[in-house]
């Protein structure tokens, strides 16, 4: 049995680690709340955009926008991988990279030209390890992605797609389904397959159609609405990723704290036993010594 002193030392170091993980859990919780608020505020914009799209869709328009059209040939593909800058968030980065890597390999196998864009230090070091060249990297997106910064990337993709330099844009990120469920996913954002999104159309179909006055015309509104819808979706990916990272860290740190608690309990028990044994043996020595003197 280990000596009592060593056990005390170990218990102390585990207590220190527990303090750290507990604090990180609290920080992640606070950041999660903030990220969540931002995401839900931003959802209003996406919802409205979808509503307008659905309204316009009812007025029997033939949608034809370059962003909606499937290019004849998919030669140039852009893959954007959203990972975190920091670790200690459980399987968050691993899950996303597991989604992204097979897709990249698949594209390469098919002989396509892949331009890889990675956000987050974790993803960058993974790609370095795998020996996959990264064309663009970002490390500035933390838990509060700003629309202007995200918009820059989105505008670049839109311009590339319209000009024909890009035929497809895939984004790998942690999708937020509910506060207890998130899943790593890889989505094709361009060309936009289903513009209205399934929810928008269904809701609208129930209500009576409203006869809108369109200024200047449905076509010209669409021309601007389609990129706006794409940008809103693109921004949502970043917001989801920020929320997902904080949730993942929260969960990881919570279980780390619980593990530390358990270890402290076990070690305390062992320490008490060791201490008891030590006292018993000391007592036995004293009694033995006293008996020898008689």
């Amino acid at each position: 049995m280990a000596s009592a002193r060593i056990l005390v030392k170990r218990r102390k170091s585990i207590r220190n680690i527990r303090k750290i993980t507990r604090t990180m859990e609290l920080i992640a919780t606070a950041r999660f709340k903030k990220a969540m608020d931002r995401a839900s505020e931003a959802a209003a914009y996406t919802r409205k955009i979808n509503e307008i799209v659905a309204d316009l869709a009812q007025s029997d328009l033939s949608f034809s926008h370059p962003l909606l059209q499937q290019p004849a040939e998919e030669q140039n593909v852009a893959v954007l991988v959203l990972t975190s800058n920091r670790g200690l968030c459980g399987g968050y980065n691993g899950g996303i990279l597991r989604q992204a890597l097979p897709r990249i390999r698949q594209f390469e196998q098919d002989g396509k030209h892949v331009s890889l864009e990675v956000s987050g230090k974790r993803g960058l070091s993974f790609m370095k390890f795998e020996g996959i060249p990264v064309d663009q990297s970002h490390t500035k997106f933390e838990d509060k992605p700003g629309f202007d910064e995200v918009n820059e990337i989105a505008a670049r993709y839109v311009a590339g797609f319209v000009a024909g330099r890009l035929d497809r844009v895939d984004v790998a990120y942690q999708q937020y389904l509910s506060s207890s469920k998130q899943a790593p996913i890889i989505e094709t954002l361009l060309p936009i397959g289903d513009l209205a999104g399934s929810a928008g159309i269904d809701e609208q179909a129930n209500g009576a159609a409203i006869d809108y006055e369109l200024l200047p015309s449905a076509e010209e509104i669409l021309e601007e609405l389609v990129p706006a819808a794409f940008k809103a979706r693109f921004f949502k990916c970043f917001l989801d990723a920020a929320v997902g990272e904080q949730i993942a860290r929260m969960v990881a740190m919570k279980s780390a704290t619980e593990n530390a608690d358990e270890m402290i309990r076990d070690i305390s028990q062992e320490y008490n036993r060791a201490r008891q044994t030590q006292i018993t043996s000391e007592l036995a020595e004293i009694i033995g010594g006293a008996a020898a003197l008689e």
Binding site: A42, A44, K48, F147, L215, E224, A228
Partner: protein, 133 residues
């Protein structure tokens, strides 16, 4: 039917909902000029330009905001403005706008698209400066 008296303005940017309140009237920039709305306006979907959103709140005070492109939707008594960027007029960064204007003026377009982009940037910067002053 009694004339509608209610009008609610919702001002949304991609990041947040800036305003959600009852107003008496409002004016905002459409793609080709200013447009005013009073209660009881027929449904409308339109494209916004760059310029000033002026609203008369229910207590009679006037508020001014910058609106930078986007869309307007009027449905029932609710006016929704979806815009890329918006802020109270007092918060416009004049120095930044002037720098943008100088940058746009210095730009030499080589294609029709670039020319259009330049003109939009010029208009945007000029309107921002005009609003701030």
């Amino acid at each position: 039917m009694i004339a509608a008296t209610e009008l609610r303005l919702v001002l949304v940017t991609p990041e947040t909902t800036l305003l959600d309140e009852r107003v008496r009237s409002l004016q905002y920039p459409l793609y080709d000029g200013q447009m005013g709305v009073l209660p009881g306006r027929a449904p409308l979907v339109g494209r916004l330009g760059v310029g000033e959103l002026r609203l008369e709140a229910s207590d009679g005070r006037t508020q001014r905001f910058l609106v930078d492109g986007g869309f307007v939707q009027i449905k029932g008594s609710v006016v929704t403005l979806l815009t890329h960027q918006s802020m109270p007029v007092e918060q416009i960064d004049l120095a930044q706008a002037e720098a943008d204007l100088a940058a746009a003026l210095g730009d030499v377009p080589t294609s029709p698209e670039a020319l259009e982009a330049k003109q939009q940037a010029l208009q945007r910067a000029r309107r921002m400066i005009a609003l701030r002053r």
